[in-house]
Symmetry: C2
Subunit: 443 residues, 2 copies
């Protein structure tokens, strides 16, 4: 096949009249195709979008051999490159996992369509009728790592919310992601969703990510999904808005009036039920009046689950007599630390005010809880804590799109603008003002 | 007065035990004070905020001598430095202008409080009750130029929406702004609004703006108000979210079925009623079927107002026979140009589709209008145009917070995230999830 460099020094392969594009040109072409598709996506009937989603769900099973073969290639490469067991497990697909992904897609299809809702509609004294109409954001870029199911998850949520999507998955899952993206593209084409609505970037060259992050005129929102490094890189380099979870430093405060049983169950669940996620408990704050009764109870339960406890001096004094506990004296860095493991910091405070100040200083604005039987303490905590999700007498582990009844989520936002907490379908939309006139002019 | 450099090389003036802070330290202290105040502002009763606003309104008149004296200093300096008449007029305050500012503040006091509204509240199957509660954003930074009334406007809107504010006005109005900010600070103190809720940066050194734009942990939102240069600088350098109007390239499309009287009145109003603002008409698109009847009518009206018409070839052919018109052949740069003056581009198109494509390509997502008597054309335009405000049979000049019934506005957003179009009180808020439990843990 003839091979040459074009004027700009890019490699081209001459194959009849086709000239192969450079990776950057290809990326830009994908961006333009997504943008063009997004215009039609904006007013696509729900039924078309739901048919597309149902096609994806059935194709995930009908085409499972193709997907699993691609996944085995990634898996073998991962093994060869010495990928750890946890990572390999996250990478692996199976019939069961594909079935569960298909179920999730059907669940998204069953959700109400967020697009088209008209709200705040009213008639002004001059006869103008105006209101806000919910519309898709446009083109969403997703940059993600490792788990191939994100390809399906995000595609389903973006399709349902009428957005076009540009997917850029990690190198380690490129064959799986590519196979999954093709399944999506074939499935939506049969449903007459506009061509170009789902774009996948096969090329895993890092420079393409940099270029993608500068395509501000094309991409309306970037969603990074992955580790802290990826999120930081995207946030610092994107020319367009980014919605990312950031970190979750979550406190549970046991007030002096707390019900001891609830307080033990809530702290246990918040720390132990899934310690590696952002809504898990990091610091337990305990009112001094209840600490001597409460701490030995929760510590005994935590110890059974293997929780390492980083205690301030007063907590240490109370817990020292229990020989079976994994106690560590807390250091300064333990306050405000996201443990993401079976470890927690414990601090005894003298008042609700001290707890509020601690949360204000060290919290990351994610999820904060109080356990109390006092009405006034509950209301003050709800009013005064500035976080995406503020709980009374419940586990912070509930911060999740499907637990909140949003059906599904693309992430959890700790920023204040646009959307806070779990990001569901509605949070992938914006609105435009629509104005029905009959010849009005401004006096 | 003893004068020395401290360890960090900053000038300090020793005056008893007081050590003067460096400008940067002072700015940071103001930021911290605003942040601290914002926590209490979040749950301040509406009545306290409204009392503060009423105090501001009455003090603007009671303390008018102090304000006008400061304004005269700015005015004289402006004159000395050769400031143009238009700029001087924008700078000037008078008893009338103060009275009108006071009226605006009272109007904000009369608006409903956006804070505290609870919405989407529901009870989940597990008994958790959850919903979203509207809360202030926190600390808002405003960077603005020239018109001193912005000091009062933005202070009033931020106070009403429960936000603390850091004001940084332009050098040319520094005495006026300082006097107005002091009036605000004194007025709100009497109403028991937390100290520190309104901060004013007297020092007009540009490096302080750079520092302000990096205070991402303190300031939740920056609002630039001024020329394109200021907005660009702020957008490119801010470490926190920015809401800015950007430019308004507004099209009015006259469909083949348009009512000629409405079409003339709307285009005239959109271009002439106030040509220097972002929602004024820039390009008139006219369907070929109606162009020969419509264009001479609108052009004659525009000519009376002195509008210069940048016409494409077809429009030029139609209008040439009218000798009294200011006609200019359109150049490429006229499409997508924000004229901000008595000038407009005119293009004849063959179809609604061509008009939609032109708007898609050249519009800035601000305000777009169609004039039509055909239902289907109206609905397609409303559906397919992607802009903050889309009109049928009305002038784009209505894009304005008070025209839309939002009471007041801090600006008009052409971005898609968070808020689109006129930004009123509600758009200066966010929400947090509040969750009332009774001991629930996640299974």
């Amino acid at each position: 096949m003839p091979f040459s460099l074009n004027k700009r020094g890019e490699a081209t392969i001459q194959k009849g009249v086709n000239i192969t594009k450079s990776p950057i040109e290809e990326l830009e072409a994908k961006g333009k195709a997504a943008k063009a598709a997004s215009r039609r996506m904006a007013y696509l009937p729900s039924e078309v979008k739901n048919n597309a989603l149902r096609n994806i769900a059935s194709d995930l099973l009908a085409k499972k051999n193709r997907i699993l073969t691609a996944n085995q290639t990634d898996y073998r490469e991962g093994e060869t490159q010495g990928m750890g067991t946890a990572m390999l497990d996250r990478l692996m697909l199976s019939t069961d996992r594909l079935e569960s992904m298909a179920q999730d897609v059907l669940a998204v299809a069953a959700l109400p369509d967020p697009v088209g809702e008209v709200f705040d509609m009213r008639t002004l004294p001059n006869g103008l009728q105006l209101g806000r109409k919910r519309v898709p954001l446009g083109v969403i870029g997703a940059i993600y790592e490792s788990r191939p199911n994100v390809t399906i998850d995000i595609s389903a949520l973006c399709l349902k919310s009428g957005n076009a999507i540009i997917l850029r998955g990690g190198k380690e899952a490129v064959h799986s992601n590519n196979a999954l993206a093709k399944v999506v593209q074939e499935a939506i084409a049969r449903a007459e969703v506009p061509d170009g609505a789902v774009q996948f970037i096969e090329n895993t060259d890092r420079t393409l990510v940099n270029h993608l992050l500068k395509m501000g005129g094309i991409i309306d929102l970037i969603i990074p999904r992955g580790g802290a490094g990826l999120i930081k890189f995207v946030t610092e380099n994107a020319a367009m808005p980014v919605v990312s979870g950031g970190i979750g430093v979550c406190h549970t405060y046991i007030d002096r009036s707390a019900d001891l049983n609830k307080a033990v169950a809530i702290a246990f669940n918040a720390k132990v039920q899934r310690p590696t996620v952002c809504n898990a408990l990091d610091t337990l704050l305990v009112h001094a009046d209840i600490a001597e009764r409460y701490l030995p109870l929760v510590a005994a339960e935590w110890a059974k689950a293997g929780v390492e406890m980083h205690c301030d001096e007063r907590a240490l004094d109370i817990l020292k007599p229990q020989p079976s506990l994994k106690l560590v004296p807390a250091i300064d860095k333990d306050w405000g630390k996201e443990f993401l493991s079976l470890a927690a910091a414990i601090k005894v405070v003298d008042s609700l005010d001290e707890a509020l100040e601690h949360i204000e200083r060290y919290g990351s604005g994610h999820s904060e809880a109080i356990v109390t039987e006092e009405y006034e303490a509950a209301m003050r905590f709800l009013n005064e804590v500035d976080a995406a999700c503020v709980y009374v007498n419940a586990s912070t582990r509930f911060t999740d799109g499907s637990q909140f009844g949003l059906g599904a989520e693309v992430g959890i936002s700790t920023q204040k603008l646009h959307a806070r907490g779990p990001l569901g379908l509605k949070e992938l939309t914006t609105y435009k003002w629509i104005i029905f006139g009959s010849g009005q002019v401004r006096p």
